[in-house]
């Protein structure tokens, strides 16, 4: 009997049956799509961004990056906010809220002026939306009064948040752009403007590939291309970094954050939750694989909780945040030498090559036996462990303490995928 766990979580006062939501994007842009996603198991949907502005889209509008045959490491998207009439989008959202009362349908809005933000917020208020997300972060808008250029300007973010919260009491979430060094600044501005919290990251401004046929970037639109947003697995590390910064901020850390960026599996989602996100939002993996990926998110998360003895997500939400510390606070008193399994080793010599060319020439190579051995130059960097293609062949071994440093019990990682 398939395992069942309570995956519910409360976010801005609203209970979500599970933390898995669609992010505002092509994957949730009409009634039928969102209806199907709910039937498949998603807990909520941040509906495709609605504005007064109606997008006029280019063709084609997507590209992807790959490495050694593995496609979709990253994904580039030139689509803007909804290209459907505003009233039609609100009608769809009304029907979704009516037909799926146990799922959470959240309008995402974007104005180009205080008046537009107010107008859209009033429409959400009349809709009775459970919360509203404000998109301050789309990097491919054809209007510079909208999108991520706004999101990098704390004054504009604050004034638009004030515009929204002046006309509605519904919790307002500001969706932040990663196209900035210090996200805490606009995020604090959003809170100062009355926002209840933030969600992040939106896509990263990018050029994925250059096309030599037309000597422009991809995708090629009549021989030209533009910078636009990058997403997918490649951006997850960047998302986790911004979220860590936000949640470690003493003001923003008191609010509830929704995590976005490269989530494909339950494990990715659990990472965002471990940092403190209350839910997660997904688009790119759905574009590649479809709504069905949520089935393994639900099942995998349930098994994870069962294995770890968690009964509620809240029991592990945020538990990793405090263990991410400034570089100067790390214990630098020891090194962990790698240990090599001669039995598992297949004799490829990749550890030797990388150690010599990129580290400390700490591996000697036995050309006859085709086996590595460690010499006394090893600094414990574990480049070899990371480059080794064989599972559990190179593993953490002996702990060596630096001269004169106090030895004590240290926490170690044992299992590597």
């Amino acid at each position: 009997m398939a395992i069942k766990k309570d995956l519910s979580v409360t976010y801005h006062g609203k209970e979500f049956m599970n933390p898995f939501c669609l992010s505002s994007s092509p994957v949730g842009s009409n009634y039928d799509m969102v209806s199907k996603c709910y039937e498949t198991g998603w807990g909520g949907c941040f509906y495709k961004t609605v504005g007064i502005f109606i997008a006029d889209e280019c063709s084609p509008r997507f590209d992807q990056t790959n490495k050694e045959g593995l496609p979709w490491l990253g994904f580039k998207n030139m689509e803007q906010i909804s290209d459907k009439p505003t009233e039609l989008n609100f009608e769809y959202m009304y029907k979704l809220m009516r037909d799926y009362p146990d799922h959470v349908t959240i309008p995402t809005i974007m104005g180009s002026s205080e008046e537009e933000w107010k107008q859209l917020a009033k429409m959400c208020d009349e809709l009775g939306a459970p919360m509203i997300e404000g998109n301050f972060s789309c990097p491919q808008m054809t209007s510079s009064a909208m999108g991520s250029d706004v999101g990098t300007n704390p004054e504009l973010v604050k004034s638009y948040c004030e515009a929204v919260t002046s006309v509605t009491k519904i919790p307002f979430i500001a969706k932040m752009t990663p196209n900035i060094t210090t996200m805490e600044i606009p995020a604090r501005a959003a809170l100062a403007g009355g926002a209840a919290g933030v969600s992040t990251i939106n896509t990263i401004k990018s050029i994925t590939n250059i096309d030599f046929e037309n000597m422009t970037a991809m995708p090629v639109v009549d021989g030209k291309s533009s910078i636009s947003g990058y997403s997918g697995a490649a951006v997850k590390p960047i998302a986790l970094r911004f979220i860590t910064n936000l949640l470690q901020d003493e003001v923003i850390g008191k609010t509830e954050v929704s995590g976005i960026g490269g989530i494909e599996t339950w494990r990715d989602a659990a990472e965002f939750l471990a940092l403190g996100c209350k839910n997660v939002q997904v688009t790119t993996a759905i574009m590649q694989y479809g709504y069905r990926i949520v089935e393994d998110m639900i099942s995998g998360m349930s098994h994870f909780m069962d294995e770890r003895g968690y009964n509620k997500l809240d029991e592990f939400i945020g538990c990793a945040l405090g263990n991410i510390v400034p570089a100067e606070d790390l214990n630098r008193d020891f090194k962990i030498l790698p240990q090599f399994s001669d039995d598992k080793c297949v004799g490829c010599g990749r550890c030797y090559v990388s150690c010599y060319d990129a580290a400390h020439q700490a591996i000697d190579w036995d050309a006859d036996k085709r086996r590595p051995s460690l010499n006394d130059k090893c600094v414990g960097c574990h480049l070899c462990l990371n480059v080794c293609p064989v599972k559990d062949c190179i593993t953490p071994g002996e702990i060596v303490w630096k001269e004169g440093r106090q030895q004590k019990e240290i926490a170690l990682k044992h299992k590597y995928d």
């Binding site: 339950w266 089935e295 393994d296 098994h303």
Partner: protein
């Protein structure tokens, strides 16, 4: 000189995946819409779903899918004729080669064991109905598991000392290790199914049961009526494999061994002979390779062990003074063909016969196989049957499918009868 593989009789011939190689293989999967592999599995194991789970880092979910859909998930991972089923259906064949579905299934089931998962359970509220399953082979095990999962009281009655049928007394352990079979059977036991061994079932033994499932397989030897067939050194495949598997006293696999037949059982016999130390082993089949019912991978494995194969020749007579010394073959279609091979052992893997199921009064065919429809329904209301005794000898996965379907019929019958 060709380099042949040296293998051991009880050591599994094919290495499995680890966490890294499994996800690499799963990443090759195209994640098809309306996946043809899942449609290609007779037992409904749903490979598309479990491969997707492996790919999305949910190996526990993968094991769950397999075990819930196919109680013999570990066994089928080893013995399924994938190249005729899910892997033949795989859309990736249109690009290069199919996903190694069987090996991924094996990996997930190995993880089930390694992670100490307990996937199946019985409902807290038991049903009143009592069901007997006669025979402890794949069809019965599958039927018993489904019935136990639905809350019925199930007893398996088995003639031999161990459960498994052909899995335990037939298929060579280098293809199907006994530990894999035992682990699958343990899942049936964990569901509370009772096993009674060393019992020959009589009609009166079944009187107390509300329904009976007959899954007795085919165990009658099938030997041709040719000269010399009674000489020592002549075996039927069932007897030869069973003696080898159970380590019967005085059993000698032979030194110059001929195996007659073109199915997986013929390969099992030849591999058994080779791995038990026979110097020269040949398979002789009367038709062509394309007509052979066996799995090509299995023939290739036999070849890799140094086993030869001759086609187009049928045995004509066995000669020897008090024991097998040589076998004369004649062309099956080629009238000019003649062949004499020296041998001390000849094994006939030319199918098995049904033994009379005289403990139930069901309609049977002229070959004594039981007449039942695809849902296991026989001519008698409360008697159901599936597997080799119905289909005349097919695959393990088809026996599992038949057992599952029959269990659904039994549940429907008991509910209709009001035994809830």
């Amino acid at each position: 000189m060709s380099k042949v593989v040296k293998a051991e009789y009880t050591a599994e011939a094919v290495a499995g995946f680890n966490a890294r190689t499994a996800i690499e293989e799963a990443a090759r999967c195209l994640l098809c819409h309306d996946a043809p592999c899942s449609k290609g599995c007779p037992a409904g194991t749903n490979p598309a779903k479990f491969i997707r789970s492996i790919r999305f880092r949910n190996v526990r979910g993968a094991a769950e899918t397999i075990r819930e859909n196919n109680i013999l998930g570990g066994t089928c991972a080893r013995v399924c004729p994938y190249d005729n089923l899910c892997e033949e259906a795989c859309s990736r064949c249109g690009i290069d080669r199919p996903i190694e579905i069987g090996k991924l299934q094996r990996y997930a089931i190995e993880q089930e064991e390694a992670l100490g998962m307990k996937i199946l359970s019985v409902p807290a509220e038991k049903k009143a109905g009592k069901v007997a399953c006669v025979g402890a082979g794949p069809a019965s095990l599958a039927a018993a598991a489904e019935l136990a999962k639905a809350g019925y009281d199930v007893t398996i009655l088995e003639r031999e000392a161990k459960a498994g049928g052909v899995l335990t007394y037939g298929i060579v352990p280098s293809r199907l290790p006994q530990a894999v079979v035992d682990a699958d059977i343990a899942k049936v036991e964990e569901l509370g199914v009772k096993f009674v061994f060393n019992t020959t079932v009589k009609a009166e033994d079944l009187a107390d049961y509300d329904a009976v499932f007959v899954g007795i397989g085919l165990w009658g030897p099938n030997l041709p009526g040719i000269d010399g067939i009674d000489l020592p050194g002549v075996y039927a495949a069932v007897d030869y494999l069973k003696a080898a598997r159970s380590g019967a006293e005085g059993f000698n696999a032979g030194n110059r061994v001929l195996v007659v037949g073109g199915g997986d059982v013929a390969v099992d016999c030849a591999v058994t002979a080779k791995l038990q130390g026979a110097e020269d082993v040949k398979i002789v089949y009367r038709r062509t390779i394309e007509e052979a019912p066996g799995n090509l991978n299995e023939f290739q494995y036999a070849l890799s062990l140094g086993i030869g194969m001759t086609t187009g020749m049928a045995p004509d007579s066995i000669v020897g003074d008090g024991k097998v010394e040589a076998v004369n073959f004649k062309g099956f279609r080629d009238e000019a063909a003649k062949l004499t091979l020296s041998a001390d052992t000849i094994v006939f893997a030319t199918g098995q016969k049904a033994e009379a199921a005289d403990f139930v009064a069901v309609d049977v065919t002229d070959k004594k196989t039981i007449v039942a429809d695809e849902n296991g329904v026989t001519s008698v209301d409360n008697i159901f049957s599936a597997g080799d005794i119905v289909n005349g000898g097919k695959t393990v996965v088809e026996a599992v499918a038949g057992g599952k379907a029959a269990a659904a019929s039994i549940i429907a019958y008991l509910e209709k009868k009001g035994v809830k």
